[in-house]
């Protein structure tokens, strides 16, 4: 593992996207899943909310110059519900988002984020409202997420956040890109498989 893969802090300006249950079809419409690589996904997050049918920009935080360059996304409940498409976190990441702070995240979405080295951390409803208001009134204010301390700083304010221990560990130790870790256990996997009756088609 190289040092750069260890993610202990994310620091930057933030952008709020309000609303519960923001689904993956909204984050990235299915038609963009027809592209054969993730390379251009950064052009498409929230496409149908950001652009009209003629491609003209609409009012949306991702189009708003005051949030330009933001790397921390603030969201409400059950963000990323719906499809398993990794294109959704890929689109956000390639757009420039490197961490998401919210009230809660859908399971597959949060798992996909970790696999890409992007922390999803949770705070209370009151705290997210406080953060969103702070960012809306001062969009150039810098937020800093410290995974070691499980603490988020916004100006003078320190807010403690939650993140599953395994996600935190994977990010901080750089094992979020876990193929090599899993692959090192291939012999163990083969042994475990050999004990499963269906792997031998139930032959007596």
């Amino acid at each position: 593992m190289t040092v750069e893969t260890k993610i202990a802090k994310v620091t930057g300006t933030a952008v709020p996207i309000r609303g519960n249950d923001i689904d993956t079809d909204r984050i990235i419409p299915a038609r963009y899943l027809k592209e054969i690589t993730f390379a251009r996904m950064g052009e498409y997050p929230f496409y149908d909310e950001r652009f009209d049918s003629e491609g003209k920009p609409k009012s949306h935080p991702f189009n708003d110059p005051k949030y330009q360059g933001a790397s921390i996304l603030l969201v409400n409940k059950n963000f990323g519900c719906g499809s398993s498409r990794e294109h959704a976190p890929q689109a956000l990441f390639r757009f420039g988002i490197h961490a998401i702070v919210g009230e809660s995240f859908a399971a597959i979405f949060a798992g996909n984020c970790v696999m890409m080295g992007m922390p999803t951390v949770t705070v209370t409803s009151i705290e997210i409202e406080e953060l969103m208001k702070a960012v809306e009134s001062n969009p150039r204010g810098v937020l800093s997420l410290d995974l070691e301390k499980k603490s988020l700083s916004c100006r003078e304010r320190q807010i403690r956040f939650d993140i599953p221990d395994s996600y935190r560990s994977a990010l901080m130790t750089g094992s979020w890109d876990c193929t090599s870790m899993l692959h090192a256990n291939l012999d163990k996997a083969k042994k475990a498989a050999a004990k499963l009756p269906y792997m031998t088609a139930f032959k007596g």
Binding site: K34, T37, N78, R85, N112, M116, C178, T179, G204
Partner: protein, 468 residues
């Protein structure tokens, strides 16, 4: 029940598939069956090549085409060059890595969640992963089945394992008996409405109770399919005689004495009678009406005779307001009588033979309303053949439905089957998200296949109980 000391199916399958505890604290889980399709896999194969890795267990992965498949003109090359490119990539990748591929020329092609069970690939007591959130469908067999992202597809290809955290288990009992005109789809919409679209977060849902115990496998698949719409990564039903009878004789199911041994194993992995559950929820089937969605997520649903809710009385008032804004409707209006433009019977939720029979029963001898575009898309090539043997295709075409080839079609509109503009679609699919059916302004009303057929012939939402 929650206080028992026995183990759930989830506990047993998790333990039997545990390879190791990883340094992160996650568990490395062996994946018994991996299903892939053309959309979420191409970058995973690219990552394998970049890392110089092989597919560890090529015989445990099966591939088909479903998401982008045109359901009318299937001649190659496809008119959509991106669809053609993805298809060629899957053909190349499966060939290069030695993976079984069921393409359009195969009688085994179809929606990945329809063909797994149909071929007997899906079996009780397995772990099953696929780059599609509706993989929970396979839980109907007592399989631990879940959707994964592309990086995880890469990990399964490279190692046949995943790094996972264990879930809690919520038992959901449906007591009593269903009345005529109420289907498995209505039950799962009712459950999601009751528990919320995020209510299942952190849980596997175990469905049981007298209603589920009497259900056919296809009905159980409909319920398990939409677990993820309730926020639950996994949904399952304990395997029983109905499960074993469904599996017997299928292509990949053991035969003869091996089948007997399989049944013994499958029986052993069911939840113990005194299993411990983290939560138990009880619901009465008599309370469940034909249920339809009115908003922009599957939890925004009402019984067919109810009025649309006051946003301030919804669990998420802002979300309800946004739904009204998109749908263009007013609180207090009836959903009954809502005019529709399109009717779609299909998707991994409701495209199996029993779904098509239920829709055909309503369509028989009737005509699709002249203003309505109606299509029936069977879930697999095999479902299509079986339906045609029974003459269901003729019932549909005589009524004015289009009878199509197998695929995901208008559930997510990655093929040419799309809504236009502000069209309203009565749909047997699983998501009513904004833009889901291919038009940013399009509107989706989820319901059972019989309700879709009844809406198609009336040109508006009706109560299917008047027809059964």
């Amino acid at each position: 029940m929650a206080k028992g000391s026995g183990r759930t199916l989830y506990d047993k399958v998790w333990e039997s598939h545990t390879v190791d505890i990883l340094p992160t604290g996650q568990t490395q889980i062996f994946i018994g069956l991996h299903l892939i399709h053309e959309i979420t896999t191409a970058p995973a194969f690219d990552m394998l090549r970049e890392k110089g890795l092989k597919v560890a267990f090529p015989e445990r992965t099966f591939a088909t085409l479903d998401h982008i498949v045109p359901t009318d003109m299937r001649a190659r090359p496809f008119l959509d060059s991106q669809a053609e490119e993805l298809t060629q990539a899957l053909e190349k990748n499966t060939g290069q890595f030695g993976i079984q591929f069921y393409g359009l020329d195969s009688d085994r092609q179809g929606i990945v969640h329809v063909i797994g069970p149909q071929l007997g690939l899906t079996q009780p007591g397995m772990t099953l992963a696929c780059g599609d959130s509706h993989t929970s469908t396979h839980g109907a067999f007592g399989t631990l089945a879940f959707g994964i992202g592309t990086s995880q597809v890469r990990d399964v290809l490279a190692t046949q394992t995943l790094a996972m955290d264990k879930l809690k288990v919520r038992r959901i009992n449906i007591h009593g008996a269903l009345s005529a005109g109420v289907y498995a789809k209505d039950i799962i919409l009712f459950i999601i409405r009751r528990l919320g679209v995020g209510g299942g977060k952190g849980f596997a849902y175990e469905y049981g109770g007298s209603v589920v115990e009497k259900m056919s496998m296809e009905e159980r698949m409909t319920i398990c399919n939409m677990s993820i719409e309730g926020g639950a990564l996994v949904g399952y039903v304990n395997p029983d005689e109905i499960t074993f009878a469904f599996l017997k004789g299928r292509e990949f199911v053991p035969k003869g004495e091996d089948f007997e041994r399989a049944v013994a194993y499958w029986s052993s992995i069911a939840s113990d009678p005194d299993a411990h559950y983290d939560d138990v929820v009880d619901m009465e089937a008599s309370e469940i009406e034909p249920t339809v969605t009115w908003g922009i997520n599957p939890g925004q649903a009402v019984g067919i005779l109810e009025k649309l809710p006051d946003p301030e009385r919804c669990s998420d008032p802002e979300g309800a307001k946004r739904a009204y804004e998109h749908m263009g409707w007013k609180p207090g209006s009836p959903i009954l009588g809502t005019p529709i433009n399109v009717a779609f019977v299909g998707s991994c939720t409701n495209s199996r033979l029993s779904d098509l029979r239920a829709a055909a029963k309503i369509a028989k001898g009737r005509k699709v309303h002249p203003a309505i575009r109606a299509l029936v898309v069977p879930g697999s090539a095999a479902v299509k053949v079986l339906a045609e043997k029974e003459g269901l295709d003729r019932i549909f075409t005589e009524a004015g439905f289009e009878w199509r080839e197998a695929g995901c079609s208008m559930c997510l509109a990655m093929n040419p089957d799309k809504l236009k503009g502000r069209e309203i679609c009565a749909s047997s699919s699983n998501r009513n998200f904004i833009g889901r059916q291919g038009s940013p302004g399009g509107r989706t009303i989820l319901m059972s296949p019989a309700m879709v057929a009844a809406a198609a012939v009336n040109g508006k939402i009706v109560d299917v109980r008047e027809y059964v």
